[in-house]
Amino acid sequence: MKHALDTVTAWLARGVIAFLYIPIVVVVVLSFNDSEVTYKWAGFSTRWYGTLADNTELLAALRVSAEVALISATLATVCGLLSAMGMARLARRWKTVFSGGLFLPLIIPEIVLGVALLSVFGAMGADLGMTTLVLGHLVVTLPYASLIVLGAYNALDSSLGEAATDLGCNPWQAFRRVTLPLLRQPLLAAWLLCFTISFGNIVMSTFTNGIGSTTLPLRVYSMLKGGLTPEINALGTLLVLFTLLIILGVGLRQMRQVLLGGKRG
């Protein structure tokens, strides 16, 4: 028999899930609002998307973000794959030490990581710009890439590689023809997740960007300090769409594994 409180909590839970969507839906709806102020509905219009397309500063920032995300996601995924392969060859004790280091950036507050990197760049006299931005984003994305790739790599059947070697493959061929194709899905998932994390990152970017390397979130943040405009809602809508595409790309199964199976999503 169902308890009355079960009904109450079920409705509460549905309410919470709805609560998660209300702000997102409002952003999407208001992005089509033909009004100078965001919240007063004045009819349907797509003009803010036009304004958005004409905003050269935003487009420049979009370009920076896309480039940084592309490079850092690739670096993080490659580093993750290499360390998964390397760790398989380590003794158990060293494996623990190495994975501890790899996942360290997950538990340290990102803002401290940003401050720390800035101190090093400052001490070295390095100019802040694309390079420092990429390195900062690499620190943030590497643990996520490692988490996914390591899990997938360890789940592979080790006899497959041995079989390939027995059949006359050298290690490189075994990697190219057997391991890599089997890991294509998780590698793609890792790359896409790192891309999203880097693309939306604001904390690390605050400390590692320089003149001419303002990322999209940094630009939007400074725009928002001057007040919310319908143009920003239009951008938000595009970003929501982008999220949906990424989730479709990664696949629900992979996503569920990342979020529920591991230490942290």
Binding site: G80, E110, V112, V120, K225, G265
Partner: protein, 290 residues
Amino acid sequence: MTAAPPRSARGAAVTTALLAPAGITVLGLVLVPLILVVRNSFASADAYGGVQGGYTLTNYQDLFEPIYLKVFGYSLGMAALNTLVCLVLGYIVSYYLAGRSQQRQMLLLLLIIVPFWTDFLVRTFAWINLLSPGGPVNSLTDAIGFTDGPTQWIPSQGASFIGLVYAFLPTAIFPIYASLRGVDNSLGEAARDLGCGWWRVHTRVLLPIARPGMLAAALLTFIPTLGVFVIPVLLGGGRDQLVGNLIVTLYTEFRNQPMGAAASVVLLVLMVASMAVFGLAARRLRRKTA
């Protein structure tokens, strides 16, 4: 794919080469920088925003000024409250999820993943839309007669808090659901048949099972909340600051790196302390169930 442990020198070289990129990244971009922050927190600032050598405790003493102590107190309170709300709501949602059919669980999970992956800034400025004077929330409260005319909901501490809960709720749901989803539905029913009331089913049976997930969720909410700086600026008007705001202000506006480093070290210490507390709780939990 576990290769045979390498015996040759060449094997060791390959292993090193494979581990080098990630190893160098962690060493050079995480460990050495952290050491430098700790060292800088004892240095003094020069007039140009640089770091001057020397060892002093002034930075830490300065952090004990009432204005900064207020920031730490406010941050801890906000983070604790945010953690509490996220845990309660996270448990309720997870319990609901775990009780659905397999197919529905997948669908609902997808529904929670979408906001989770939605851009952090979008999720924050969405609330500016909602809470603006004359905006949707205001119109609703006008309609039910709760308010009369345009009401100033932002900036405020309340708006800041809603933004924090909204930002961290999905993060809190996943680990709790992960620990509850394996539970057989019949477990609760069995407890009920054996005479447990609704509360006892939860407090005696389900909550203990969910506790590892709850601990993880608390850790993923409490520490990151302290480091947030965007939400208090955009929704709180920048008046009531979190530790994150303090660090950013010290670095970018006051150009006082050593003091910013000291504030970062305090945040690190808070992190270690709360991890110790959560770790202790987890160990007690394990001993109890063992």
